[in-house]
C-alpha cells in the first residue's frame, strides 16, 4: 500500500486529504500520471513529489509502505 497525501487545492479537488494506492512499486513519473488520469487532479503536473518527506525526482522509485506527498507550488512566508 502506498499512501498519497494531498494538500491545498489538490486536497479540495479530491475532496480528501489522502489516497491509498494498492501498488507494490511505481516511479514518481508514473504515480503523477496515474493521479492525473484516474483522479483528475489538474495541478499534479506542476507539483513536486515528496517521498517520505524528501523531494523526489521523476525516476525515483516508490515502494509499498512509502508515504508520498504531492507538493503544489508552495506559498508560505
Amino acid at each position: 500500500m502506498i499512501e498519497v497525501l494531498l494538500f491545498a487545492q489538490l486536497q479540495e479537488e479530491a475532496g480528501k486529504d489522502k489516497i491509498l494506492l494498492d501498488i507494490k512499486e511505481i516511479t514518481v513519473k508514473e504515480i503523477k500520471e496515474k493521479l492525473q488520469s484516474q483522479f483528475h487532479l489538474s495541478q499534479v503536473k506542476e507539483s513536486m513529489v515528496a517521498v517520505n518527506e524528501e523531494y523526489a525526482l521523476d525516476g525515483d522509485i516508490i515502494q509499498t509502505g512509502d508515504t508520498v506527498a504531492i507538493i503544489p507550488p508552495v506559498s508560505g512566508g
Binding site: L5, F7, A8, Q9, Q11, E12, E46, S47, M48, A50, E53, E54, Y55, A56, L57, D58, A69, I71, P72, P73, V74, S75, G76, G77
Partner: protein
C-alpha cells in the same frame, strides 16, 4: 527541554521567544523578519488568510534552511517559526531570527531564509477576499521548479 529552533505552530508566535533562541554572548547583531498578513494586495482586499502545511516535512525543510545558513555564514544562529491556520490582518505568519557576531551576515542570512522558505517549505496559503478565495502559488511569478525540483542549494540567491 531544548527549544525547537524550527517549528510549525498553530498558536500566535512570540517574536521575543525567537530572539531568545538565537541570543549568544558573541552575537553583535540579531535580525528578525516578521511576515504579517497584509490587507491590500494590488486591488484585492484580503479578509483573512488560511495557511496549511505538510507539517513534518515543513519542519525538516526549515531545519535544512538553518543548516544551509550555518554553512554559508559561520557563527550564525537561526530560528524559524511558521504559523498555520486562519490568520487575520496584521497577524504574524512567520518569524525568522538570525544572530551573528557582525551585522552584514545577520541581514544576508535572514533574507536568504525567507527566499528559501518561499522555494522549498511545503506550506500553502489560501486568500479569502470579499468576493472569493484562492490557493496561492507563485506560478504567476516563477516557473515552479525550473530544475525539476526545488533547488536545495541556490548559489545565485541574493
Amino acid at each position: 527541554m531544548r527549544d525547537k529552533l524550527f517549528e510549525v505552530v498553530e498558536d500566535p508566535i512570540s517574536v521575543d521567544s525567537l530572539i531568545k533562541k538565537v541570543e549568544d554572548r558573541n552575537a553583535g547583531a540579531i535580525t528578525t523578519f516578521i511576515g504579517t498578513v497584509r490587507e491590500i494586495t494590488g486591488k484585492k482586499k484580503t479578509i483573512y488568510l488560511e495557511y496549511q502545511a505538510y507539517k513534518p516535512m515543513a519542519e525538516k525543510m526549515l531545519a535544512q534552511i538553518g543548516k544551509e545558513i550555518n554553512e554559508r555564514w559561520p557563527d550564525t544562529k537561526v530560528a524559524i517559526t511558521h504559523r498555520i491556520g486562519s490568520l487575520d490582518i496584521s497577524a504574524i505568519a512567520v518569524v525568522i531570527a538570525v544572530s551573528s557576531p557582525h551585522r552584514k551576515p545577520a541581514y544576508q542570512a535572514n533574507e536568504y531564509a525567507i527566499e528559501r522558505i518561499k522555494q522549498i517549505v511545503p506550506i500553502w496559503k489560501k486568500e479569502q477576499w470579499e468576493d472569493g478565495e484562492a490557493w496561492i502559488g507563485d506560478q504567476k511569478e516563477n516557473v515552479p521548479y525550473p530544475t525539476g525540483k526545488p533547488e536545495i542549494k541556490d548559489e545565485d540567491n541574493d
